[in-house]
């Protein structure tokens, strides 16, 4: 409990992103409008991604068919698990789906795993390092809907392009306008399709965001209990290990399902 302003202030502080924007967009010193960047989300997710994918690329570059090193073995295990899911679900042939699924699972997992670091640990350390004791900084990027929407919209666009590429423009358009009720009810078919397509990225991103945001909130509330947080933080932490893995897995799995739906005829 570092910030003044009581319980509400503490919670508010923990849920505020480090935002930057042009001075002209500021209202009372707070960034509003679209052209705002959450530096904390961008930095933490980017650094985590660079570190983890850099490590994976390093192990992969030294990968041998012989006895694998410990690191290679671990990366292979993770990658093999994801690849198995892709094989089971996605029946087409695509050089993109497995790397996409690996990226999602690994990246979302490490970002979620930031939640396991005690809520005040990194923010207080950063405040001490910068000397700014009011510096807001969220260390769990997946609690920022911008990140989850950024990912889900990218997934949506990829699935759209994949559908176009696999089925061809004519077949794709036929599916959009003539399925499931036939070409006579084209507007209704189109409306159904749009709702279906839009619902996917929204549910995909809100699921991850909601779970992580709620989990983070519970950590913040537990941290408010003073000494009593000790017996509570541990079980929630242990439980959260399950949640972060599950959420990463679910995001990956649904992406594979959407890709396979895009690549196969309805």
């Amino acid at each position: 409990m570092s910030a003044e302003g009581g319980t509400a202030g503490y919670i508010q502080h923990h849920l505020t992103n480090l935002a930057v924007c042009a001075d002209s967009a500021k209202v009372d010193g707070v960034c509003t409008g679209f052209w705002t960047f959450h530096l904390d989300t961008l930095l933490v997710s980017g650094i985590l991604g660079l570190v983890v994918f850099g490590l994976m690329a390093k192990f992969a570059s030294k990968a041998t068919a012989g006895i694998p090193s410990g690191g290679q073995n671990f990366v292979e295990m993770v990658v093999g698990l994801v690849d198995q899911q892709v094989r089971d679900t996605f029946h087409g042939r695509s050089a993109l789906v497995t790397p996409l699924a690996i990226t999602i699972f690994v990246w979302v997992f490490v970002m979620n795993a930031m939640d396991l670091i005690p809520v005040d640990f990194l923010p207080v350390a950063l405040q001490a390092a910068t000397g700014n004791h009011h510096l807001p900084f969220k260390f769990v990027p997946t609690t920022d809907p911008n990140l989850t929407f950024g990912m889900s919209i990218t997934v949506f666009l990829i699935s759209l392009f994949m559908g176009l590429k696999v089925k061809g423009f004519g077949h794709f358009m036929h599916e959009v306008f003539a399925v499931p009720f036939g070409i006579k009810l084209a507007p209704i078919n189109f409306l159904f399709r749009v709702v279906e397509e839009i619902a996917r990225p929204i549910s995909l991103s809100l699921r991850l965001f909601g779970n992580m945001y709620a989990g983070e909130m519970v950590f913040i509330l537990i941290a408010l209990l003073g000494l009593y947080q000790l017996p509570l933080a541990l079980p929630w932490e242990l439980f959260h290990i399950l949640i972060i893995t599950l959420q990463a897995f679910v995001f990956m799995m649904l992406t594979i399902v959407y890709m396979s739906m895009a690549a196969e005829s309805h």
């Binding site: 409008g33 960047f37 991604g49 292979e76 690849d83 993109l96 790397p99 996409l100 990140l147």
Partner: protein
């Protein structure tokens, strides 16, 4: 919760990481894993082959062993037969030899008997002559009765 340009930045990060995974992580790992799978399959096949060969070799060795046993049994039977033959032959030879010895001994004995008889005859004749001489000293002339004595000697 406010949606802003961070979304675009995140999409760019995401695309970058997908690209890294697609180019530098997945292909080498996939290759390594596929190669290893092939190696393992090869090793398993080789093991299977080795096992098969070992089975064949065991069968061959069993065959050879059986053959050798049969041969040795043959040899033993032959040797026994031969030994029997030798024994038979030896028996025959020994019998012939023994018969010969017996016949020789018999002949010798007969000769001896004959000789003894001869001697006895001569002795008896002498004795008879001596007895007769003693009995008939006075009236019988040995030379006068020599013919009769010779006839007597012959009768004995």
């Amino acid at each position: 919760m406010n949606i802003n340009a961070t979304l675009i930045g995140q999409a760019i990060w995401f695309a970058l990481f997908i690209w890294i995974t697609m180019k530098y992580v997945w292909p080498p790992l996939q290759k390594a894993m596929a190669d290893r799978q092939a190696q393992i399959a090869e090793g398993l096949a080789a093991a299977e082959r080795g096992k098969h060969e070992q089975e064949l070799a065991a069968k061959r060795s069993a065959d050879a062993l059986r053959e050798a046993k049969e041969k040795s049994a043959d040899f033993v039977a032959q040797a026994e037969k031969r030994a029997q033959q030798i024994v038979e032959e030896a028996k025959g030879t020994a019998k012939i030899e023994a018969d010969k010895v017996v016949a020789g001994a018999k002949a010798e004995i007969e000769q001896e008997v004959e000789r003894a008889k001869q001697q006895l005859r001569e002795r008896v004749a002498e004795l008879a002559v001596a007895g007769a001489e003693k009995i008939l000293r006075k009236e019988i002339n040995a030379s006068a009765h020599a013919d009769m004595l010779a006839a007597l000697k012959q009768d004995l």
